[in-house]
């Protein structure tokens, strides 16, 4: 496995079938695309054909939703084999999934469930990440999830857990800005503690997304534009970590490509302003 940190890619979007035609017929101002791995873990046909065309023009990152890295069930070798087959075809800049579990006893809940942050869970996850990385022959990138419940048995904070996984398993991290915001709101911790609690040298990607307010808690639904509070936290995040490949996730209510690119331009502007301010500080 290469020791090099993956390259900085700039500002990307999640690839959605609604945008295929516009992407291939124009030259949209998007630096790279993230694809949901499972949508292309299929035998053949149009989705793979389009993906082949898009990867000719843009760097691709693969993002999975069902690795279930924290599950206590045995690793699903069929799933991993299909994932590896796709990775061999696409040659992504990196492969990510969520630091969570999605099912046990052979039943998939297709939802991203949180884990108790205990030493036992940590050992378990570290061991599994190492085995998955060995099998894939490349490092994994793991993303913090949003959660609505906490476990009484947790022995450490989420950011300590995430950091320990990254350093002990030697994997990369995907810092989901919106998820940190959602979890901090739901559990009453400080976004700054999380931000300062994870190792900068492990972060290879940011996620931005919209969510919905459900009264006393917020749900990470990816069906709204990014809200002002999350933009503010993004500014703070970029100031803290420096330039990191950034993308906007939109899974529902998918607007026209131009609209999502306009949102991406907000991220570009914020990151530009942060860089500018740093420059000014450095010059003084």
């Amino acid at each position: 496995m290469s020791d090099h940190k993956p390259p900085y890619l700039g500002f990307g979007l999640g690839l959605r079938p609604e945008h295929y035609d516009e992407i291939l017929s124009g030259e949209p101002n998007v630096d790279w695309f993230e694809v949901i791995s499972e949508n292309y873990m299929i035998p053949g046909g149009k989705p793979l054909r389009i993906l082949d065309e898009i990867r000719e023009r843009y760097p691709i990152v693969m993002h999975g939703v069902s690795l279930s890295i924290a599950s206590t069930a045995p690793l699903d070798m069929d799933y991993l084999t299909e994932l590896k087959t796709l990775a061999d075809r696409v040659d992504p800049k990196w492969i990510s999934d969520h630091l969570c579990w999605t099912g046990v006893h052979g039943v998939n809940l297709h939802d991203l469930l949180p884990i108790p942050y205990t030493k036992e869970a940590l050992d378990h996850v570290v061991d599994r990440v190492a085995r998955v990385q060995d099998f894939l022959g490349r490092r994994l990138t793991l993303e913090n999830v949003s959660s609505y419940v906490t476990f009484a048995e947790s022995e450490m904070s989420e950011w300590d857990f995430v950091s320990e996984v990254a350093t002990r398993a030697d994997c990369w991290l995907l810092f989901d800005v919106n998820n940190v915001y959602v979890s901090s709101y739901n559990h009453g911790f400080s976004t700054r503690d999380f931000l300062h609690g994870v190792p900068r040298d492990r972060i290879v990607q940011f996620h931005l997304a919209g969510h919905s307010h459900e009264g006393d808690h917020i749900v990470d639904t990816h069906d709204h534009p990014v809200c002002d509070e999350v933009w503010d936290f993004y500014r703070e995040t970029v100031a803290h970590f420096g330039p990191v490949s950034t993308m906007i996730e939109r899974d529902d209510n998918i607007p026209p490509l131009a609209e999502v690119i306009a949102e991406l331009d907000i991220a570009r502007r914020i990151a530009g302003e942060v860089a500018e301010a740093k420059h000014v500080v450095a010059a003084e």
Partner: protein, 208 residues
Amino acid sequence: MTHAYLGDEAFSDLARGYIAAHPSDKRNARWFSRYLPEFARTTAPFSEHREVAELAALEKALADAFDGPDTAPVSLEELAAIPPEDWVNLVFTPQPAATRLRFKTNAADIWTALNGEDSPPEPAQLPEPQTILVWRQDLMSRFRPLGPEEAMMWAEAAKGVRFGVLCEMVATSPARTKRSSARRPISRPGSKRARSPVSALTVPSPIW
């Protein structure tokens, strides 16, 4: 289309019953609904409305054809290049994404109406079961009903029966003499040609 046909309420009953009976056993949610046609065929009240299971089967077959394995179909040029004396020994291999369904109801007509956002015809039993061919052409899934003779030819060809034998079978087929009473196949746009579902031809070496 199964959803459009049943409406929200009945479809959500079907979906909930299905989820309880078939918890997702694959990581990839793409394959989650693969037992739905069988579930609808065998579970009341849907089992009393056979067109529901057939609509679900058609939908599944179209989805499977859409992202099934890639193979290059035989082109007209390739066919033209085959020496006349070899035709008798040709064996046709259907593309792996092609399937045939056997319908007892007018589910295919219901699907076509719903797909065109027309109001669907009343569900009805067909006088004779109908074979529906589902395949992929130009990256899109398609389907069309096969006449009785054509369905028979497909079944035999898919078993590896040689072209020469197939021709003899057609010549003596009872379906041929009955053809005037057969239902006229409903054409789907762009599905005029039967060549594309055939992905490979092999010319077996002669048997001595």
